[in-house]
Amino acid sequence: MRGIKVGFGEKLVMDGLDLDLYRGEVLGFVGASGAGKSVLTRTILGLLHKQAGTIEVFGYDMDKIGPSERRLIEERWGVLFQEGALFSSLTVRQNIQAPMREHLNLSQTTLDGLAAQKLQLVGLPQDAADKYPAELSGGMTKRVSLARALALDPEIVFLDEPTSGLDPISAGDFDDLIGTLQKTLGLTVFMVTHDLDSLYAICDRVAVLGHGKVSAVGPIDELLVSEDPWIKSYFHGKRGVVRAGAAGKRPAERAEDGRAQFDRAEDARR
């Protein structure tokens, strides 16, 4: 995968936007509310039509591939929608099993076991498995949705505000989980977030969306010294100033590990 490049023509929300997402990295995506972060995510996923530009996922141009190739790509990514988008008439367990049941031939015991494993990974108790989405709290919905996004062990996950609505402890666990998965699976993460803690803790690079373009992209340390007024007030505003000192180098190292591991796997595959 060379990354994703998105270019839009005369669209109002996105105007000639370029962005690369490298294998094994966690890319945080920030921008003012209504700047089009979710629009971009939905465009990459093919849910919205773009007027111009190309999107490449795993090296395939999404406009030039047929439906069957597209399906194969869709099995390799997982998506967490902002509001969960769980199937309301299925239980939590059935929700998590839905992608596995549809795409793979697995026995019911394994399906149940894997659903339980995903629940445990996202930090939910096992008795949540038989609940319906309407009976879940907002934070639980987020976690179940993440569990469903991870069901097929995707290579890329798109997370739309994964930690909003979670308490700080859960949000921290969430960051740890994403970090672990990145390290062990070489997971690539595209994360729309407003959570400064997440940005500091797990994002290797942060992209800032403004005026329909990516106005800045780079490791968080670079953005912290940026002169752009919006970026400045974002990271050094009332809420950002406390954490400014806390940015460490760990995420970058972790990305190195993840990338190296994935390159090995990629070599082995060829």
Partner: protein, 377 residues
């Protein structure tokens, strides 16, 4: 594509060494399960086993889980299995995403007879509750109407007019079309069947009386129950699902006043208008068929019609319309309020709304027929 997962057992000095190779990923599907099963069967019987992970090409959470489950199963059989040669990230994965024993779900055993009886009892009980609910709503609506009647400024005119347009104006084409067809069919059959008694011209009476008294209002009500009743249930139901109704409540707004009243009033105005349209369409259908099929000129048709029907015949149909409207509106909005979180429940409530409305419309038409006969109207 990646290599399928595989297991190569080798018996050594210190037990069986099981070398795993290939990609232990979920995309392997059934192969993942069979490989894990061969892992357990190869090591079974021995005292201890070593699972060598050095040859693994790729592993994901599902792969880690099946490998770890195999190890746990072996441990259950008294075989000590240990991992060897795992890369640090895979060791972490096995630890984080490993197998955890599942508590078997509690099975509650009940006999089918008990379940059946319970289901019957429950549906009788809910039917009773539904009735109470609807009467409850009716009472609330009447009280609200009495309270609002002296203050026309507080009526939601915009909402009412909007719904009036949706319910009446946009229903006109379909209502006119079906009633035109019904009028034509009744006329055609009337002429054909009555011809045996030489009474073909009386088909005009048939269309006039049947159409104005019963069919016009009945067909319109059924159509509106399907078209508008379902829309009301779906609107209120999805608002209920997304906590919009709760939001209204906490803003000190009464959903009954804001949502249900305007719809109900609009429906009560729309249905008589549509019934009138339906009546005209029925007569129109009759006129066209009698002209083409029996050669009866429009002048003759109209003069016969004037002899057959009186103002009451027309009014009987029209009087029923607002009652039908309130019935449909009440059932639709109570069902909408019943919707719970899932899409399935929305579907169920919309279905229930339409079925109940149509049923009640027909029952009420029967009651009205008996009533008008009794009072000789």
């Amino acid at each position: 594509m990646s290599v399928a997962p595989s297991v190569t057992p080798k018996t050594g000095d210190d037990g069986v060494v099981l070398s795993l190779a290939g990609a232990w990923i979920i995309a392997a599907g059934r192969a993942l399960e069979t490989s894990a099963a061969s892992l357990t069967s190869a090591a079974r019987g021995g005292r201890n086993a070593i699972i060598d992970l050095a040859g693994i090409e790729r592993m994901d959470t599902a792969g880690a889980w099946v490998i770890d489950r195999a190890r746990a199963e072996l441990a259950g059989d008294g075989v000590e299995a240990a991992y060897r040669g795992a890369r640090p990230e895979y060791a972490l994965l096995l630890q984080e995403a490993g197998y955890r024993p599942l508590e078997p779900p509690k099975q509650v055993r009940t006999s089918h007879l008990v379940t059946l009886l319970a289901a019957v009892g429950e549906s009788v009980y809910t039917a009773g509750l539904d009735l109470i609910d609807i009467i409850d709503y009716l009472g609330e609506i009447v009280v609200m109407w009495l309270r609002l009647a002296p203050h026309p400024l507080r009526w939601r005119w915009t909402s009412m007019v909007h719904h009036l347009e949706m319910y009446s104006l946009r229903s006109v084409p379909i209502i006119a079309l079906i009633n035109f067809l019904v009028g034509a069919i009744v006329m055609q059959q009337g002429i054909f069947q009555l011809a045996r008694f030489g009474a073909s011209p009386y088909a005009v009476n048939l269309v006039g009386v049947l159409g104005l008294r019963e069919l016009g209002v009945l067909m319109t009500s059924i159509m509106i129950a399907g078209r508008t009743g379902s829309a009301i249930t779906a609107e209120i139901g999805s608002m209920n699902m997304r906590e919009e109704i709760d939001a209204l409540r906490v803003m000190a707004l009464d959903p009954l006043e804001v949502l249900i009243m305007p719809r109900l009033v609009a429906l009560a105005i729309a249905l008589p208008i549509l019934t009138f349209v339906a009546d005209m369409a029925t007569l129109g259908g009759g006129l066209i068929v009698s002209w083409i099929y029996a050669g009866m000129t429009p002048e003759v048709f109209i003069s016969r019609l004037q002899g057959a029907i009186a103002t009451e015949t027309f009014l009987v149909g029209l009087i029923k319309a607002p009652f039908m409207a309130v019935t449909i509106g009440l059932i639709a909005s109570t069902e909408g309020m019943e919707v719970r979180g899932s899409a399935e429940s929305l579907g169920r409530c919309v279905t229930a709304s339409v079925v109940k409305s149509i049923f009640m419309v027909i029952v009420m038409d029967g009651v009205f027929a008996m009533f008008f006969t009794a009072v000789d109207y």
